[in-house]
């Protein structure tokens, strides 16, 4: 089987394309649970954040947390959804970590609908809906291998997490490549963090991703889809989708029909495995929750939330891109914005510095600096001007930057002088170039004959002779000029 052809914008294998939708559950950053006032906290001693509602005790009644509604609206509006009148519904099924044997969720009328998420420099993925629901408790399985249910002797249930507010965000099946899937998850996470809805950490379980995968020949009807669970990292999302699509294509080509089922991704063996088939699936008997009433946010509340949203990652990337003359999906723009350091780059520009150089410096040297770098922007501004003005070469600037970062600031001129960096005057440079040509006649001959790569040896010789102080670009320019007049 040949490897699938894959580029960021296309994935194809034996002519088939993948059709992927993602369901993402996020834990909301509220102080208390969705329907009761026990703390919404991770890592406490088991069963210490419990109350009659959390435990599903007889006579207990749910009361909706206003902040959960506010955060659901925030993230919905950030995803360009419409906020609408919504109702709660009971999803009935038995499981020991489900204290009432039903989960209060939203079914017919979710709080947010019809939004979208633009992947940086790529496609727009539709968002069908986002709705509120309560989380389950956690079970630990004792006695089996690897803590799995299979072979276990018994299980222990902790209800601290039961009742924690979740929003489930369902995308439309617009995703066509593993890269797009990964980008969706990353961008969604960035938005959730930016609006304060969730800390969205996959590794802690505050963001969980399930993938719905099917395959088809382009333009044909959607194929049967499988739901993939247990995706614990962005990387897993990509790997699992890739595997599953190929699995389905293999079956289809062999004339087997793909069964609609839920499958479990095994990170260790790199495959998906059947968890349960549709026939085994429970009948959830959804009906409107009689213990709760309609939620109908008034237009004033919705507008207040909309206006209180911070600048979203896409807008920040656009601003940074414009200021630095880069594409919005350039790697430096993506990386720096994701780190939250875009504001810093713009601050350097406000101090009169060169935004483009600042972007490069920050990307390369500020990985450990966090959102508020300890280095004064004015200092960095000055350095950028020295490089752009030719006072320092790129290499020299890099070394000065390293000092500035290490010491949390510093005067670029003073540091440069300290290191003995001087601008190499043109005369000295020309002399070095002459020496290099003389020392490597073959390379020079090849270069003049048109072998562009041969210039490397000559530039290298000049760099060596100057102990790295020469400006590589200037050297190359000189050599080019020489060649053109030869």
């Amino acid at each position: 089987m040949s490897a699938p052809q894959s580029s960021p914008e296309a994935w194809s294998h034996h002519g088939y394309e993948m059709v992927v939708g993602l369901e993402v559950h996020v834990e909301l950053a509220t102080r208390t649970k969705l329907f009761s006032a026990s703390p919404n906290r991770f890592g406490d001693e088991p069963n210490t954040n419990i109350d009659p509602v959390t435990l599903g005790l007889p006579g207990a009644l749910p009361v909706l947390n206003r902040q959960a509604v506010e955060l659901a609206m925030r993230l919905g509006l950030a995803l360009d959804c419409r906020v609408q009148r919504s109702t709660f519904a009971r999803k009935n099924y038995f499981y020991p970590d489900m204290p009432k044997a039903y989960q209060i969720s939203q079914y017919d009328e979710p709080i947010c609908v019809d939004g979208w998420l633009d992947l940086p420099g790529s496609i727009r993925v539709g968002i069908e809906r986002a709705h509120l629901e309560e989380d389950t408790g956690k079970s630990t399985h004792i006695g089996g291998s690897g803590g799995r249910i299979h072979g276990s002797d018994y299980s222990l249930i902790d209800f601290n997490r039961a009742g924690v507010p979740l929003v489930e965000i369902v995308s439309r099946p617009d995703i066509r490549t593993p890269d797009q899937a990964r980008a969706y998850v990353s961008e969604l996470r960035a938005i959730l963090v930016a609006v304060g809805a969730s800390d969205a950490k996959m590794e802690e379980g505050s963001m969980r991703v399930d993938a719905n995968v099917s395959v088809r020949l382009p333009g044909a009807e959607f194929g049967t889809r499988c739901e993939i669970k247990n995706l614990n990292s962005v990387r897993s999302v990509g790997r699992a989708i890739e595997y599953e699509a190929q699995r389905q294509i293999g079956m289809t080509e062999a004339g087997e029909s793909v069964r609609q089922e839920t499958r479990h991704w095994d990170e260790n063996d790199g495959r998906t495995h059947t968890l349960r088939s549709k026939e085994d699936a429970d009948d959830y008997r959804y009906f409107q929750e009689p213990d709760l009433v309609v939620v109908d946010p008034d237009p004033e509340w919705i507008e207040r939330v909309r206006w209180s949203l911070p600048e979203l990652p896409a807008a920040r990337r656009a601003r940074l891109a414009t200021a630095t003359g880069q594409a919005t999906d350039a790697e430096s723009v993506l990386v720096v914005t994701e780190r939250g350091q875009d504001a810093y780059v713009l601050a350097v520009a406000e101090w009169g510095g060169d935004a483009g150089r600042a972007l490069v410096y920050v990307k390369e040297a500020f990985a450990d600096q966090g959102e508020r770098p300890a280095v004064p922007a004015a200092d960095v501004a000055k350095l950028t001007l020295m490089e752009v003005g030719g006072t320092l070469t790129a290499t020299q600037a890099k070394q000065v930057l390293a000092e500035i970062v290490e010491h949390g600031g510093g005067d670029a001129e003073a540091i440069a002088a300290d290191k003995g960096f001087e601008a190499m005057d043109t005369g000295r440079l020309e002399a070095m170039v002459d020496d290099a040509i003389a020392a490597q006649p073959d390379a020079w001959a090849k270069y003049c004959a048109g072998e562009v790569k041969a210039v490397g040896a000559l530039v290298g010789a000049v760099m060596k002779a100057s102990r790295g102080q020469a400006d590589g670009k200037a050297v190359t320019a000189l050599l080019e000029h020489r060649r053109s007049i030869t």
């Binding site: 210490t48 009361v63 099924y93 499981y95 399985h141 902790d158 409107q288 939620v295 946010p297």
Partner: protein, 109 residues
């Protein structure tokens, strides 16, 4: 036009097979005799309840709540929790600060 024939046989509006599925959903164990009896009783009830089939309910909105209240919410403020020891003392089985159950086999997550 169909003529209604008096029901001389016991109705089979719900067959024992369907009752078995329903019992499974509800986690109730019924013997074969009980399944038969439940099928008869439930069918009999549903025969009575067929009176609403004749109503014209087009355009009628379902009524899930007696009163049109909306937007009941509470502030995001912590309140006192239950005492774990008291709660676990009332549990059928507990270990290590948690509720203990037999192996969780045959259930969907």
């Amino acid at each position: 036009m169909a003529v209604r024939v008096a029901l001389l046989v016991v109705s089979d509006r719900i067959t024992p097979e369907v009752v078995a599925k329903v019992a499974k959903l509800a986690r109730l164990g019924l013997s074969d005799d009980e399944l038969q009896q439940a099928s008869h009783q439930l069918s009999d009830m549903l025969d009575h309840f067929a009176d609403i089939d004749a109503l014209d309910l087009d355009g009628v909105e379902p009524m899930t709540h007696p009163t049109p209240i909306s937007n009941v919410m509470r502030e995001d403020v912590e309140m006192e929790c239950l005492d774990r020891d008291e709660v676990l003392a009332a549990a059928p089985a507990a270990e290590d600060g948690r509720f203990r159950v037999p192996p969780i086999i045959g259930l969907e997550e």
